[in-house]
């Protein structure tokens, strides 16, 4: 694996998720190393987004465990060393360590770009207003939005909004950042500025999981590409192998829909 550390940052053990009778994820096992960038591809409805959402318990897994840096998400150690379900507050605390970037940005429309980034710092991390603003401004500069801090989301382009959303996730110093199709809702000419920011994060050795339909991007940014279909991981490997020489017929069939440069 391309230069990833040895200790797994994130481990998924037998994660399944059903909505009513519909099984969306079936026994997914996966580990992600610290500093690793993992792309997840697959046809729509294959469970990619649900997989990301089970990680931060926006959709708690029906069975199985998500372990981030030794902590089982949604559970805490009870007095006798056994796991017990986390309280709402405890789960909220665990979620701070998991950055999440949504397909449709989900910025808070009543707040400025700066406030969108700082609100988590003040209300959740308990930072002082001044310190939070300073930190939020620094994060916004990193995503090249220094000139737009006092604008509200509706005054920003889609690409700018998504970069604010990335800054919002970064501000809380997460151990891992999950991207749910971060460019799918963008006009084509705005895709690049967002991908560039994500690329910089990958180069900075942040731990990233990216669900994407941008095949070329998945190929060049990721250390490892995972192909999912019908709720299972069909195949995974280094991008060169998965895109260049897929083993599974389902992977080949899916990739044949794209003009991926070999």
């Amino acid at each position: 694996m391309t230069g990833a550390d040895t200790s797994p940052m994130l481990t998924l053990q037998g994660v399944s998720k059903s909505f009513g009778d519909k099984r969306v994820l079936a026994d997914v096992n996966l580990s992600v190393a610290a500093g690793e960038t993992v792309s997840i591809i697959g046809p729509s409805g294959s469970g990619k987004t649900t997989l990301l959402r089970t990680i931060n318990h926006l959709h708690p897994p029906t069975t199985g465990q998500v372990i981030l840096s030794g902590q089982t998400i949604g559970y805490v150690n009870g007095p006798n060393g056994q796991l017990r379900p986390a309280s709402e507050r405890e789960l909220a605390r665990q979620r701070q360590a998991i950055g999440f970037v949504f397909q449709r940005f989900n910025l808070f429309p009543h707040l400025t770009a700066l406030q969108n980034v700082s609100i988590g710092l003040t209300k959740v991390a308990g930072m002082s207003r001044a310190a939070a603003h300073e930190r939020a401004a620094a994060e916004l500069r990193k995503v090249f939005l220094a000139d737009h801090m006092s604008k509200r989301p509706q005054e920003l382009s889609g690409g700018q909004q998504q970069r604010v959303a990335i800054a919002r996730a970064l501000a809380l110093d997460p151990l891992i950042i999950l991207f749910d199709e971060p460019t799918s809702a963008l006009d084509p000419e705005l895709v690049r500025e967002v991908l560039d920011v994500i690329r910089a994060l990958a180069a900075d050795r942040k731990t990233l999981m990216i669900v994407t339909h941008e095949m070329r991007f998945a190929q060049e940014v990721a250390h490892r590409v995972i192909f999912m279909d019908e709720g299972v991981i069909v195949e995974q490997g280094p991008p060169a192998a998965l895109f260049g020489d897929p083993r599974e017929p389902r992977t080949r069939k899916f990739l044949s829909h794209f003009n991926v440069a070999r």
Partner: protein, 216 residues
């Protein structure tokens, strides 16, 4: 036809009643907004018990006539040792009544904010209560202004019902004149105009407020 001399005489006589009506409406308005927001937050809380209590309260208020509620507060409270003057009993009854509708508006308003907002708040580690207070309610405020205005208008008109427990508000003041001079048509017409002017002012102020709030 209209006896203009009576009208001329009644206008100053109705001034005190108008003042009482405005006072009752203002105090009840503030109290019902405060209580209503509190109840609305309870209705949105994670506690099943709180939600059930608020649900039962709203159900009771909606399911019974305001007139009966006024009598209940006026005659039933003394039985449990709470003695209120007519005017404060009336204010209490109006506030209890209106707060139920305000609570429903708050619940509906915060509940109708797009679900992605709740998810984004959760994703940065906010609790349910924090999400409600910092993310959902602020976005719901502007859309809540028109329905809340309707509730305050209804409440203001309902102050006339307090005449039945001898609160000397506008309607009662008019009835006092009628009982002496027996000129019901002139006086009720005048009362209608008074209420109309009050309500118009209220809805004008509400539209101004709405326009000044940022559109999200």
């Amino acid at each position: 036809m209209i006896d203009w001399a009576i009208v001329e005489m009644a206008i100053p006589l109705l001034a005190r009643g108008t003042l009482v009506t405005l006072q009752v409406a203002a105090i009840s308005g503030v109290l019902s907004l405060l209580l209503g927001f509190l109840l609305g937050l309870c209705a949105l809380s994670r506690s099943r018990m709180l939600r059930a209590v608020v649900g039962a309260y709203v159900d009771f208020i909606r399911g019974t006539p305001l007139l009966i509620q006024i009598f209940l507060v006026f005659f039933a409270l003394p039985v449990v040792g709470i003695r209120l003057s007519e005017i404060w009993a009336g204010i209490a009854a109006l506030s209890f009544n209106t707060s139920a509708y305000v609570a429903e508006t708050v619940r509906g308003g915060a509940g109708s904010v797009e679900h992605g907002q709740t998810e984004a708040a959760k994703a940065i580690g906010m609790t349910h209560a924090q999400t409600l207070v910092y993310i959902l309610l602020p976005q719901a405020l502007r859309p809540m202004v028109p329905p809340l205005t309707n509730e305050l208008i209804t409440m203001t008109k309902n102050t006339s019902l307090l005449s039945v427990i001898s609160v000397y508000e506008l309607t009662r003041a008019g009835q006092a004149i009628i009982s002496v001079y027996f000129v019901p048509f002139e006086i009720y017409l005048l009362l209608a105009l008074y209420y109309y002017a009050i309500i118009k002012t209220l809805s004008w102020a509400s539209r101004r407020l709405e326009n000044r709030m940022p559109r999200l």
